[in-house]
């Protein structure tokens, strides 16, 4: 046995009952171990159940079979040890950038004194370079900035795992690249266990230690797991000619478009 498993998924299954018909099995037989401070991406075509999988880890959705353990404890329902960055940022529109983060910290760390609270919130605002916008409302800042606030809010509560559901999916490619840089820089300073759902191959390779490739649904499961053996910090420009980077890209491309090609939606 030796070391304790950090995050552990065992025979996960998710089925949806359909009245008058057989159950729809979205995800089945998912076994996965994630080490502490590991960054993994889950990639697959739409409808492969990758978001469902993430929701089961966050506890927002309940698996219908199998178990998920975090630090040896079974996950039952959502909690601040598994912070979520939602695709559409989910900031509360009536609270400023500062207040959105403050709300989370206040709730999860009620023992903090008010100077400690302020210090902590400001530290996370700075971490995503939003000091200049901290008193702005979400409606007054750009999509990329909103998502940065979402990341800061998630990290501010010191979660064991950071779950990101296509966090940059709604952003244009330049903003997306910018946010990926932010995420990598933050990860260098505060080590975290991160699970990213994505459908972007470059994003998966650039950010992850391992890429989990899902087969198509129904009854989707893990098809292949790819180790990305690239040194950090990673530079997206230099990587373009790195043999390892090219190997990883080709492995994912071949998985998604040859082995598990999908015609269309």
């Amino acid at each position: 046995m030796g070391e304790q498993k950090f995050l552990h998924l065992e025979n996960i299954e998710k089925r949806f009952p359909i009245p008058g018909k057989e159950d729809y099995i979205a995800v089945t037989n998912v076994n996965l171990e994630i080490k502490k401070n590991e960054i993994i991406s889950i990639i697959g075509h739409s409808g492969c159940g990758k978001s469902t999988l993430l929701n089961m880890i966050s506890g927002l959705d309940k698996e219908t079979g199998g178990y998920i353990f975090l630090k040896g404890k079974e996950i039952k329902g959502p909690g601040p040890d598994r912070a979520v960055v939602f695709q559409n940022h989910s900031l509360l529109p009536w609270l400023s950038v500062y207040q959105n983060i403050e709300m989370a910290v206040k709730k999860v760390m009620p023992e903090l004194s008010s100077p400690e609270l302020r210090e902590r919130v400001e530290r996370y605002v700075s971490m995503v370079n939003l000091d200049h916008a901290k008193d702005k409302l979400p409606s007054e800042i750009s999509g990329g900035m909103k998502q940065r606030v979402g990341i800061a809010r998630a990290l501010s509560i010191s979660p064991d795992v950071l779950l990101m559901d296509e966090p940059f999916g709604a952003l244009d490619s330049l903003t997306r690249a910018n946010l990926q840089e932010h995420l990598m820089r933050i990860q260098q300073s505060v080590e975290n266990t991160v699970i990213i759902i994505t459908h972007d191959i470059d994003e998966a390779v650039l950010l992850s230690d391992r890429v989990i490739m899902m087969t198509n649904g129904p009854e989707a499961t893990i098809g292949e797991i790819l180790e990305v053996n690239l040194e950090r910090p990673r530079n997206r420009v230099e990587l373009q000619h790195d043999p390892e980077y090219i190997r990883c890209r080709e492995a994912i491309l071949s998985f998604l478009y040859e082995k598990f090609a999908k015609e269309d939606e």
Partner: protein, 271 residues
């Protein structure tokens, strides 16, 4: 002066002239119908068509002759008091009930049919029943306002609760908010603009209701005053009453709208 502003002033003036024109023609056709000039003098005082110097109802709206004879200000004040009493009561009961109905599907199923049935009932239908219960003018007027103005508050509050984005609730779940924290920190901020829309509609109804209620209950109040002036054959005062009811209602709506905007997060930060 810019063009847009000029239009905003000139066009209503044209309509005003048209209204005076129609009014004058009616006064010509209908016997004893007060002319615009008569009405103006009856309002602000001056020399009437028979050459007598008369006082207008707005010359001294604050006079108190005796309990049954008070100036217009006191009539309006009395009506406003009743409106606010009934409206406040509707708010106190309606908002929590709306929150409950909005949050629970079962509560919605349970209450919805009755809301739909009672909502369209005219205040005049409630009045005799309530008068029979309370045997008191004030209580009858207030409870009539309560029972007719509570519906928009309930409906809009419930609508506000139901419009809470699922994502916000997910944030609350991840942070493990208690049900109370969910209400205070997520549901109420979303629902407040809806609640104020309900309040605005509700206050509008309350002001409509009070005139009718006071006509039937009597005593004091702008509604009773209008009816009393009809009995006194002072038709010009009825027209004055209508205009005053309109102006006061307009001001109430304006104030309510300002307060609503103040609490509406979607209208903030858009300088």
């Amino acid at each position: 002066m810019n063009n847009e502003l000029a239009k905003k002033i000139i066009l209503p003036v044209l309509v005003f002239i048209a209204i005076i024109g129609v009014w004058s023609s009616i006064a010509n056709i209908v016997e004893d119908f007060p002319t615009p000039a008569d009405t103006y003098i009856a309002t602000f005082g001056g020399e009437n068509s028979e050459g007598d110097e008369v006082e207008g109802v707005l010359t001294d709206p604050f006079y108190v002759e005796n309990e049954d004879d008070k100036g217009l200000f006191w009539q309006i004040l009395e009506s406003l008091k009743r409106v606010f009493a009934g409206f406040t009561l509707a708010l106190i009961v309606g908002v929590p009930l709306g929150l409950f109905i909005g949050m629970s599907k079962n509560a919605q199923y349970a209450f919805d049919p009755f809301i739909q049935i009672f909502k369209p009932v005219s205040p005049l239908a409630w009045l005799p029943l309530l008068l029979f219960i309370f045997q008191d003018i004030n209580m009858t007027a207030i409870s009539t306002i309560f029972v007719t103005s509570i519906w928009p508050i309930i409906i809009n509050t419930a609508l506000g609760v139901r419009s809470v984005n699922e994502d916000y609730m997910n944030v609350a779940k991840v942070l493990r908010f208690t049900p109370m924290e969910k209400v205070v920190q997520i549901i109420l901020p979303v629902a407040v603009p809806f609640i104020f829309t309900g309040m605005r509609l509700s206050l509008g109804i309350a002001w409509l209701v009070i005139v009718a209620a006071e006509m039937l209950t009597g005593g004091i109040g702008i509604g009773f005053w209008i009816w009393d002036e009809y009995n006194n054959l002072a038709y010009h005062n009825i027209i004055i009453g209508i205009i005053i009811v309109g102006v006061v209602g307009f001001i109430l709506d304006l104030i309510m709208g300002r307060i609503a905007d103040y609490f509406d997060y979607t209208k903030k930060g858009r300088a």
